[in-house]
């Protein structure tokens, strides 16, 4: 567990730098508030922050689950239906080539200002890294294992289940790590474009009213959620896939 200390040290260091800079350069609090003020705002508005955090978290988690599901399905289809590949690859690229910012208003129009549009934004953002990583993993199964399976008389299904799928898991895991990092982008961009709840909405409101400390408080909570989500996922993946190479810390 000693490596889980390091992110906290980094965090504390950043906070110190921030506080130091704010005091030293006498930056006015309506530009950069001091961490102390932000913290007291966080405590004062804990209920409000919590309420909006739950909304954003729900959007991210729902988007992650569905995005991973669709990404994996896409990868399986790409691997096993070679004929569809030339048709599906452009679709995959399009979901990534159009900036989510450009897509957001359209999604609001179609799916309303509620959670659905944010979840779909999140799915769009994470679909690509998951699908490509999983596809790569499924395609590059170690030839020796496939030879062995063939000589042993394995059929397409059992080879997928017993060899190709587990062999692709480490690659899928790297896709998931990327997905978890970019998922907040989808959710928060969605909230910025139009919403009635969530941390992005809160930041927009606070910004309009020049409540800079509340804005920073929301930002801090968002950053914390993203980092926590990453470490939870990372540890979960390590536990589920104990045979993969240790990732660098």
């Amino acid at each position: 567990m000693k490596h889980s200390i390091k992110p906290l040290i980094v965090l504390a260091g950043l906070l110190l730098l921030w506080q130091g800079a704010a005091v030293l350069f006498e930056i006015p609090p309506y530009i950069v508030p001091e961490p102390v003020d932000v913290f007291s705002r966080m405590v004062a508005d804990a209920g409000l922050l919590w309420e909006h955090t739950l909304v954003t978290l729900a959007e991210m988690v729902l988007g992650l689950i569905l995005g991973v599901l669709f990404g994996v399905l896409m990868a399986l289809v790409l691997v096993y239906f070679a004929g569809l590949r030339p048709w599906l690859l452009p679709v995959l690229l399009i979901t990534q080539a159009i900036p989510v910012f450009a897509l957001a208003p359209v999604l609001m129009l179609w799916f309303g200002y509620g959670m659905a549009s944010k979840v779909i934004m999140t799915i769009l953002v994470i679909f690509f890294p998951v699908a490509t990583c999983c596809y790569d993993g499924l395609r590059h199964t170690h030839q020796g294992w496939l030879d062995l399976a063939h000589v042993m008389g394995g059929n397409g299904r059992s080879v997928l289940r017993l060899i190709r799928w587990p062999a692709a898991l480490p690659a899928l895991a790297s896709g998931l790590r990327v997905a978890v990092v970019v998922a907040p982008i989808g959710a928060v961009v969605g909230e910025w474009v139009g919403s009635s709840a969530g941390l992005g909405y809160l930041m927009l409101q606070a910004n309009a009213r020049l409540w800079v400390d509340l804005m920073f408080a929301a930002l801090t909570v968002l950053a914390f959620c993203s980092v926590a989500l990453y470490y939870i996922t990372d540890n979960l993946l390590r536990w589920l896939i104990p045979w993969q190479q240790k990732t660098a810390y």
Partner: protein, 257 residues
């Protein structure tokens, strides 16, 4: 038991002819060893015999027949270079991979019958790894991993065993131990062993061939005298090793000019 005969076997990757008109007989119940520099086509030949080269861009010719006129498919066990164990499966699951692969379960693991499990454990006992049945391969040494691969080969219980440099990645002492163990446990089966170690070929082979040139050709067989696994103290073995090393070196230099 049955001989396996390759007649006029040829293989090309696209226009790259690896070998053509190759004749080779694997004698029933004996070890045939195949030496050769890297890249001459040893693995290719082995994969062709195992039926692994039926692909679009690979042109094969010739025929592979069994002495009893039955097809070879389904009668082969395969043991390849290092790291052929599935890293996510325990030692026991690795040894029983064949059973799992042939079952038709969609999601869950097929449950091993008590018989199958007993057999797997007794085979692990014979390779000296009964205590490691529930370990992951990453917790084993290189030599232990190859013993698991050997156990998996035995579990398949096939009359023909094809081995591609199975002991190349372990240290010299471990290699000798593994050679003795395989020789004991695979006795009576028809084995084709590919190796780049002349000593290994001479210790284990009833016939030792050397594959060289491009397209590759087989030299005449050397038939070392005496029971396998042959002792290192056997002076005729050492003399043969010297000759073979010379030949291998000449082949390498001939190719590089």
């Amino acid at each position: 038991m049955f001989d396996i005969t390759l007649r006029k076997a040829g293989l090309a990757y696209g226009d790259n002819v690896i070998f053509q008109d190759l004749d080779l007989t694997l004698k029933a119940g004996q070890w045939t060893c195949l030496l050769g520099g890297s890249g001459v086509g040893k693995t290719t030949l082995l994969r062709m015999i195992a039926g692994l080269t039926r692909q679009k861009n690979i042109n094969t010719r010739g025929e592979i027949c069994c002495g009893d006129n039955q097809p070879l498919t389904g009668r082969i066990a395969w043991m390849s270079q290092q790291d052929s164990l599935l890293p996510w499966a325990t030692v026991l699951d690795n040894v029983t991979t064949g059973i799992q692969l042939r079952s038709n379960r969609l999601f869950r693991k097929a449950k091993l019958s008590a018989d199958q499990k007993d057999r797997a454990l007794s085979i692990l006992e014979r390779v000296g790894l009964a205590a490691k049945a529930n370990e992951l391969p990453q917790n084993l040494s290189g030599g232990q991993r190859q013993r698991v691969a050997l156990a998996r080969t035995l579990m398949e219980d096939r009359p023909v065993v094809l081995m591609d440099e199975p002991f190349a990645a372990v240290d010299a002492i471990t290699r000798l131990d593994l050679q003795d163990l395989s020789c004991e446990l695979l006795a009576g089966r028809t084995v084709l062993l590919i190796t780049h170690d002349p000593l290994e070929a001479l210790r284990l082979g009833h016939q030792v061939y050397h594959l060289r040139g491009q397209p590759a050709e087989l030299t005449d067989a050397i038939e070392p005298p005496g029971q396998t696994p042959r002792s290192l103290e056997d002076s005729s073995l050492m003399a043969l090793q010297g000759q073979l090393l010379d030949r291998l070196r000449h082949a390498e230099h001939g190719e590089s000019v």
